[in-house]
Amino acid sequence: MLRHAGRTIAQYGLVVAAIVVLNFALPRLAPGDAVDYLIPPEQAGTLTVEQRDRILSQYGLDEPVPVQFERYVSGLVTGDLQSSIRYGQPVVDVIGERIGWTVLLVGGAVMLAMLIGTLLGFRSAWRRGRRSDVGTLSGVMLVDSMPPFFVGMLLILVFSVALGWFPVFGALPGTEIAGLSAIGEILQRLVLPLVTLTLAAIGPIYLVARSALVSELREDYVLMARAKGLVGRAVRRHAQRNALMPVVTIGLLEVGALVGGAAVVETVFSYPGLGRLIYESVLARDYPVLQGVFLLLAIGVILANLIGDLLYPLLDPRVRRPPAAAA
């Protein structure tokens, strides 16, 4: 068991090291640099080579790549993520201002999508081939194939413009609102982006839940249970528990994908999350912010995987077998 844990930690360590390197290299491989962004296009020509170098040196971008890499790695160790080029603030502050909104939006969407997707998926599997299964399946596929910005715009047109129930943009309550009504307004502003992102995330979870339960229902133990005279819920309960494993896996994997994938939804609803920050920073070639966010994301995905690894034994006793017995 201990040896197994050691190997897992070593694997994760290797993954982190690879991420740290990619994190540094990828943004710099994109054509253009921060000066292209900092100086408006028609003014860029006024810069002499020396002035351009002076700007680059302000951000340490004129140094040779190995020196930049060394500073980046030592910064990671000491927790100094440098300053954003686009925002002129420390990267930690830039991320700090937005991470709460992302947790609220993406966390909420993942949980809702897991809940709804699993319920629908299990229901479909149980009624496989019936009209309600086909209906749900095609409904989910339809929603899944619609791009999130389109769903978002539709929701805005119906619920904001036509009905006036929810605001079109923003996360913060009005400036004069405080206390409980501020929380109410934050929730109100959360609804449309949350629904949009949930709809975007539900597809894969639904499909996995559905196919997992379908294959569980074909297992011998289900046949055995039926043979013993068990019907309906009793059978379903046994099978569903076993079908949860792949659902948890896909749900946790979606967390990482959704933080970045939320960029479109965050842009449509002007929501100040990390997705939009990534998008803005890519446009600005804001290397320090990109490094910071990607690192955070990578750590998040690794943590999600770790949580998955810890959850599986609780869901499925078969995973609890010591590795020696598995061999």
Binding site: P40, T46, Q89, R98, V161, S270, A284
Partner: protein, 594 residues
């Protein structure tokens, strides 16, 4: 089974409850409350100082900053700008020295008095950090180059330039934001955003900054041009244009500080509770050739392409009529420097003859070849954020194909596009042409023709823009820089004729500015040439429109977009009803073993 049916119902009930709870209370505003106007801007500008604005709200960045700061004169779009922080400015005989007398009694937002020290300090500071405020500082170190800023007395400052600066009141006088010495003298790294709110002399003080979310400004009650008519401006940052205009329709904001897309103009002009006001920002969209790369280095090829382009057709089909055709002399027709408007010459037959005479003969595919057999195939780089530009170039491709030239549009993200435009020093860039959009500053600055088209040298953009070079143009533009307006205008006309003949650039169109707002929140908006309606004068008692605002005439056909949406919503609703009915007819107990 029973449970699984209950779940969706309870979810529905919960949603309905939530919706009811969160329904905004209507008519909550009392008449005594301070007058707040909510204006959506398109991007975050850090803390709105000249050194760290990111031009995210382009093209309104300049007007946004000038809500907080003032310049000596206002505005640059006028031939004779109005004295603003200055009371008057007097030149010496050869315009190398300007003595500026300042308006007395002006205070900074923090209560400190504004003096000549601040003005002298501002000029020195811009000169000290040229690279950090390139947009502004180059009017201090470049044209005209500052030699000295000297304080004569607390209300008078003398600015000396190394060359005659007859246009000083316009540039930099009506452009450069004056910054407070008592704040900035201690700042050594002006690009860094610290927590402090910007301090200016302008009509509004910034009271809240939420990165990527919003700015809040409050009226400066002691403003020297009179207390602004609006007490508070809330400026949410809404990047997505369709979200911004939907929010305006939904009544969540009162103005969108960007141009209405052509397809929305009629819809918004007809909408109840909304007004549309026309006001040009001197915007232009143009095609720049890389004049250092064959065959685009041949003026005959460039001019032939220009002649093959039907600018009016682009305006009609892409801008849906909401714009004006290009001017081969580049300058916006409403700019004080436009002079005699040459318009755009469209003559495909002449274009073919020119190419014929220059020896570009068509190959078997109908595309002309140069003497080395290379096809005339023009790759045009376009920002992927410019859907109208992309459509325009596709249209241009069709027009130019008729004279045997191929045009290939390439959409790139802005940073990649800028990278492609550059080349190591001494080498020619490798692009063929690119599309760009400019605003007021490029058409109102009396030296813009110098900046954009003078050959590469110590000053100006030169090769960075087109790489085009013309000795006669250089000579005229150098002379113009030192001339007072009348003489300058005559030189400008000659310069524009050279541009029209050599076509280093083809202006595709000048879009109309159409700005939508809710008159119920504020109806004082004015259309200020060169600024549109989002500009400080719209809020000042001496300038704001206190009568009724005029609306845009109804032109063209109405858009189909709302009907598409209605159709889709109907489809979804219909689908939902069918699904529900089907579920009802299903036997709930029919499932496996149930």
């Amino acid at each position: 089974m029973l449970r699984s049916r209950l779940v969706p119902r309870s979810v529905l009930a919960g949603l309905a409850l939530a919706a009811a709870l969160f329904m905004p209370a209507a008519g909550a505003q009392e008449p005594e409350q301070p007058r707040t106007v909510r204006i959506a801007i398109s991007g975050y500008e850090n803390n709105i100082t000249p050194f760290n604005v990111s031009f995210g709200a382009f093209p309104v960045t300049h007007d946004l900053m000038h809500l907080v700061y003032d310049s000596l004169f206002w505005s640059q779009a006028k031939l004779e700008p109005e004295p603003w922080l200055a009371e008057r400015a007097t030149p010496n005989e050869d315009f190398t020295e300007w003595t500026v007398e300042l308006r007395p009694g002006v205070r900074w937002h923090d209560g400190e008095p504004f003096t000549a020290e601040d003005v002298a300090f501002s000029f020195d500071y811009y000169e000290r950090f040229p690279e950090l405020s390139g947009r502004y500082a180059h009017h201090v170190f470049d044209v005209p180059p500052l030699e000295d800023a000297e304080v004569i007395d607390p209300q008078t400052v003398r600015l000396t330039f190394r060359q005659p600066a007859p246009q000083f009141p316009i540039m930099p006088g009506a452009d450069l934001p004056i910054i407070p010495e008592h704040i900035w003298s201690e700042i050594e790294d002006p690009g860094t955003v610290d927590e402090e709110l910007p301090i200016g002399t302008g009509p509004f003080k910034v009271t809240e900054i939420e990165p990527d979310q919003r700015y809040v400004m409050e009226a400066n009650p002691q403003y020297f041009k009179g207390r602004p008519l609006v007490d508070r401006i809330e400026m949410p940052i809404v990047e997505d244009p369709s979200s911004a205009f939907q929010a305006l329709r939904a009544g969540e904001i009162d103005q969108v500080a960007r141009n209405l897309p052509p397809e929305l103009v009629n819809q918004f002009a007809d909408a109840s509770g909304l007004e549309v006001l026309e006001g040009t920002r001197f915007e232009s969209t143009q095609l720049y050739f890389n004049a250092r790369r064959a065959p685009w280095s041949d003026p005959a090829v460039r001019k032939a392409i220009s002649l093959a382009i039907d600018s009016q057709q682009l305006v009609d089909q892409v801008l849906l009529g909401q714009g004006r055709e290009g001017n081969d002399g580049f300058i916006h027709p409403d700019s004080p420097w436009a002079g005699e408007n040459n318009g755009h010459e469209s003559d495909p037959q002449r274009a073919e003859r020119m190419l014929e005479e220059a020896g570009y003969n068509a190959g078997s595919d109908g595309i002309r070849r140069d003497e080395r057999g290379r096809p005339l195939s023009l790759e045009v780089l376009i920002s992927s954020f410019d859907p109208l530009g992309l459509r325009a170039v596709e249209q241009v491709a069709r027009q130019v194909r008729r004279i045997g030239v191929e045009v290939v549009p390439v959409a790139l993200d802005p940073a990649t596009l800028r990278d492609r435009r550059q080349a190591p020093e001494g080498e020619a860039p490798t692009y063929d042409a690119y599309l760009s959009t400019l605003e007021t500053h490029a058409h109102a600055d009396p030296d813009s023709l110098y900046y954009f088209f003078h050959s590469p040298g110590e000053k100006g953009f030169g090769a960075a823009i087109t790489g085009w070079s013309n000795a006669r143009f250089d000579e005229l533009s150098e002379r113009a820089t030192a001339q007072p307006p009348q003489q300058r205008q005559a030189l400008f006309d000659q310069m524009q004729s050279i541009l029209a003949e050599e076509a280093p650039v083809v202006v595709l169109w000048y879009p109309d500015g159409n700005y939508a707002y809710r008159p119920a929140a504020y109806e004082g908006w004015i259309s200020d040439p060169g600024h549109g309606i989002f500009t400080k004068r719209s809020f000042l008692p001496a300038y704001a429109d206190t009568g009724a605002a005029s609306t845009v005439e109804d032109v063209g056909e109405s858009s189909v977009w709302p009907w598409v949406v209605v159709g889709l919503v109907a489809l979804v609703v219909l689908g939902g009803i069918v699904a529900v009915r089907r579920r009802r007819t299903e036997d709930p107990e029919e499932d496996w073993g149930g």
